[in-house]
């Protein structure tokens, strides 16, 4: 029996995030939350590996200071077998170091595994650090930005996209892989799967349950300011009787802006 662990972050849905126009502060607390996009791809990939190779358990791990159970139910409905949820209010404002540290301790407590899958980066913070930090803490081989995975016996082969090349990389398992969005199209769970998921287990732990010393997860970075950039745009709509007139009006406007030259 193989075991795949998928790290799922509950992220702020950035497309629905509002900005306070007076202060330029983001209203993150009231914004809807969801499974970070790339992590859904990671989970989907785990499910596909299971469908292909059989005899596989899929566990998800999530670290969050707020409630994330509704989001975890969705992961279980997609096809995860069990969700582990490290839920502790002391984890507010954690940085990538602390997140990876807690994930590593949770994964050690879960025990053995063959693959750890992460997103290449998370939807809201988009730092792309946690997967690699986790690989280092668990002393695992790591393959990043992967768009194709195949598993055979105890070897995983992965294709990754670099700036100027495609690369095929092999590693013995256990290994850690971070995936990109192009790897697959995540499934939408059916009503049947959603019903079945309600019987699956969500194991909840606190930081204390993981025997983590407090100073180990002190932040190494501190965010001192988060502000929406002020962009003042003119928002002038160009209309006209016909396409030609519209095009001529637009061309005139662009000339008047003094921004085009032959």
């Amino acid at each position: 029996m193989k075991r795949i662990i998928v790290c799922l972050k509950q992220a702020v849905d950035v497309t629905q995030l509002k900005v306070d126009p007076a202060t330029s502060q983001l209203l993150t607390a009231s914004a809807p939350k969801k499974i970070s996009d790339f992590d859904k791809n990671a989970l989907e990939e785990a499910i596909r590996i299971k469908e292909k190779n059989g005899e596989t358990e899929i566990f998800t791990v999530t670290v969050c200071s707020e409630d994330a159970k509704p989001v975890l139910r969705e992961a279980l409905a997609m096809g995860a077998d069990k969700a582990y949820f490290v839920n502790d209010h002391t984890l507010q404002n954690v940085d990538t170091w602390a997140t990876a540290y807690v994930l590593a301790e949770a994964i050690k407590k879960i025990g053995s595994f063959d693959l750890v899958l992460c997103g290449e980066a998370s939807l809201d913070s988009f730092s792309g650090l946690v997967g690699s930090r986790l690989a280092e803490l668990l002393d695992l081989p790591q393959i990043n930005s992967v768009r194709k995975i195949s598993v055979e016996a105890d070897v995983v082969t992965a294709e990754r996209t670099l700036e100027d090349a495609y690369e095929t990389v092999k590693s013995k398992m256990p290994a850690l892989i971070t995936v990109t969005r192009e790897i697959n199209q995540p499934r939408i769970p059916s009503l049947m799967m959603i019903m079945k998921a309600s019987k699956k287990e969500i194991v909840t732990w606190t930081v204390a349950d993981l025997n983590i010393q407090k100073e180990k997860i002190d932040a190494k970075n501190e965010v001192i300011e988060v502000l929406a950039p002020k962009t003042e745009r003119k928002k002038i709509m160009i209309t006209g009787e016909n396409t030609k007139e519209i095009a001529e009006k637009l061309a005139k406007a662009l000339f008047q802006e003094g921004i085009i030259r032959r």
Partner: protein, 321 residues
Amino acid sequence: MGENKDVWVFSEKYDLTLEIIGKGREIANTLHTELAAVLVGSGVEKKADELIKYGADRVYLVDHPALEHFQSEAYLSVLHSLAIKYKPDILLIGSTKNGKPLAARLATRLETGCIPDCTELSVDEKGRLIGERITYGGNAVAKIIFRSKPQIATIPARVFKKLKLQDRNGEVIKLDVKIEEPKTEVVETKPLETSSINIEEANVIISCGRGLEKKEDKALLEQLANIVNGQVGNSRPLAEDRKWFTEWVGLSGHKVKPKLYIACGISGVIQHVAGIRDAKIIVAINSDPEAPIFEVADYGVVGDLYEILPALTEALKKRFQ
């Protein structure tokens, strides 16, 4: 020498190393300290002098056949040994697909922080590094500092400019370090067709999104680009889903700053808009009057790009005559 105060620069990509030296020089000057470049590879010794001429005071050179190609454990062990030995205060690492994971692992091994993908770097009155990065999918810019040393930041390509080649002298320190055994094996590499044009430098960019029906229709954009001396770009799905192109503009792609950006058949989702924030003028052409791109545009046209683009090309041609 170098006790917890130097600024270091590393990238496995040579051009990016030069760009980061450009910014690193400025930071080192502000801190009245020295700038060192770490040069890792096989047969790379001849490049050391050039790194000094581009602005480094010192080059730490680790030259070994096992380092010919980038390999995560090998490169990590080299940087880790050097960092332990010389204790830099700041480490600026190129944010590539290989460089960023390397920085993350190095920061973890050194039990320190890391600010990824900095678009600006500065130093506060206490001499601490402040990194700025785009966050929340492009909705905001965060300023981040460290509570640990060394301060590690990663820098994307084409954010900073390399300095002019100068006649300067510096020190080259050649080192032998223990190289860790690789845990993974690269079994195949295939070159990827990338555009050689530097879209970050373009004055005018005309970009298409999923409103474009066929790859060949890009010619419509190229015709307009020819007239205004511009370049053609695109949104991510045209690369990622349709595989027509390999690069894109946006949060996870190129961040551009043209005088004019024309978005054709692009809805204007936040992740795309994050890449064009610094454009002087944005024009949106979209058949859907409700498309969010109109909210961030200076000039908007509701219409079919297949009609508007040729007409705009004609209208501009006429004006140039």
